[in-house]
Amino acid sequence: YYNYPVLHLPQLTPLSFIFPSLCRNEALKGLFEGAQAPKPLKTGTTIAGVVFKDGVVLGADTRATSSEVVADKMCAKIHYIAPNIYCCGAGTAADTEKTTELLSSNLTIFSLNSGRNPRIIMAVNILQDMLYRYHGQIGANLILGGVDCTGNHLYSVGPYGSVNQVPYLAMGSGDLAALGILEDGFKPDLELERAKELVRGAIHAGIMSDLGSGNNIDICVITRQGVDYIRPYQESEYKENRKMKYKYRPGTTPVLTEKVVPLKLEVVQESVQRMDTA
């Protein structure tokens, strides 16, 4: 019998999420006595991608912020999806991480079942379906790039499920600064070094002009031949040199007096248990 076309949309309750953490956070709010509930970790990011002659170059900064504090100075924003597909994520850190992991495992299963290499358009479709189903509640702004049998592709996927194929792209809080560099320097069919330099420049502009982006720059080059994940491509000049070793040899601190007190121990109970050794 003919099924009328129906879009299966989830029933949204006033709380919207069915994640148990939200109920917990609501309950915790009362306990905080006016103070703010814990905020989700946002990446406050600059990510960019460029299609060049032989493939795709993706770039990202490495700062993850939690309000005004830098929570992670070396966070990896370029996620592995498939051997020929990588994804940069901006927005809520947990959402981008889990969404890309889910996508990656689904594509691996598909590859094993069908015996085919995954295509970027398939990854894009899966992401679009999933994000649309959640109506923007999953805060993931993603840049998908890769090389497959149909060519070199770069796609942007928004949190509401909108998709766009583009030759160059920047997303995140530093996107406007990065886009300026990309708009100025992009040409179709760039050479590899020029493309890497363009993406580096775009991320650098984002880092300089946006407070939410900073630290190092990661670059990922995907071509037919393989993937070159350069982490970090450029390190921040503002690096502290921590020794990370805090062991001091005996005698570093001068000993002024020494008193040895032997501890008197008395045996309270003694029991012997035979071990079964076959």
């Binding site: 076309p5 129906v6 879009l7 928004g158 509401y160 499920g161």
Partner: protein, 217 residues
């Protein structure tokens, strides 16, 4: 990207657009601009494609929330393809309009997307259907939609003639789009047009600088 949002009623990327379709002698022209914006302030894409092919001779123009419109046209494409396999013949344009209407009407609380469907079929020849936000379907010889359409109602009402030639109709559509893009801030970019006839489909893209100029300084 909250800084770009949230005053507009459409959440996320909106197509905030100008779309139109018009019947000429032997076919139909369907066209749109190519701008996608967020919150009416930030142009998130200058080259978005709003003219989607849902079957060999049937095209759809989307307006409203980009995510909703893309999801609906994907579902519609699937249903039309399935329908055409079951019927063993290409679907009628009214079938495409009905599929879109069914999706828009049944989910009217959650969706914010409107469409213009245009195409050619063997039974009735060239047709244009408008599927509005709430799911109303109306068949018209020509139609305009989107936020930019308000600026060109006068123009299209005055200039449309039934049974135009292909080139006259193409010029009419290009002029209308150019006028709307010139006045509406959320329409712009290039003009995407598709000419659908019994023989096939022809895509025409007019870049921004090649659009007809009307007393522009």
């Amino acid at each position: 990207m909250e800084k770009h949002c949230v005053d507009s009623e459409v959440k996320g990327v909106s197509t905030g657009t100008t779309i139109l379709a018009a019947i000429f002698d032997g076919g139909v022209v369907i066209g749109s601009d190519s701008r996608a914006s967020i919150g009416g302030e930030y142009v998130s894409s200058r080259t978005i494609n709003k003219v989607i092919q849902v079957h060999d001779r049937i095209f759809c123009c989307m307006a409203g929330s980009l995510a909703d419109a893309q999801a609906v046209t994907k579902a519609a494409k699937f249903h039309l393809s399935f329908h055409s396999v079951q019927m063993e013949s290409p679907p009628l344009v009214i079938a495409a309009a009905s599929v879109l209407k069914e999706l828009c009407y049944k989910n009217k609380e959650e969706l914010q997307a409107g469409f213009i469907t245009a195409g050619w079929d063997k039974k009735k020849g060239p047709q244009v259907y408008v599927v509005s936000l709430g799911g109303m379907v109306v068949s018209q010889p020509f139609t305009i939609g989107g936020s930019g359409s308000t600026y060109i109602y006068g123009y299209v009402d005055a200039k449309y003639k039934p049974n135009m030639s292909r080139d006259e109709c193409l010029q009419f559509a290009t002029n209308a789009l150019a006028l709307a893009m010139g006045r509406d801030n959320v329409s712009g970019g290039v003009a995407h047009l598709a000419v659908i006839t019994e023989k096939g489909v022809e895509h025409v893209v007019v870049p921004g600088n090649k659009l007809p100029k009307f007393h522009d300084e």
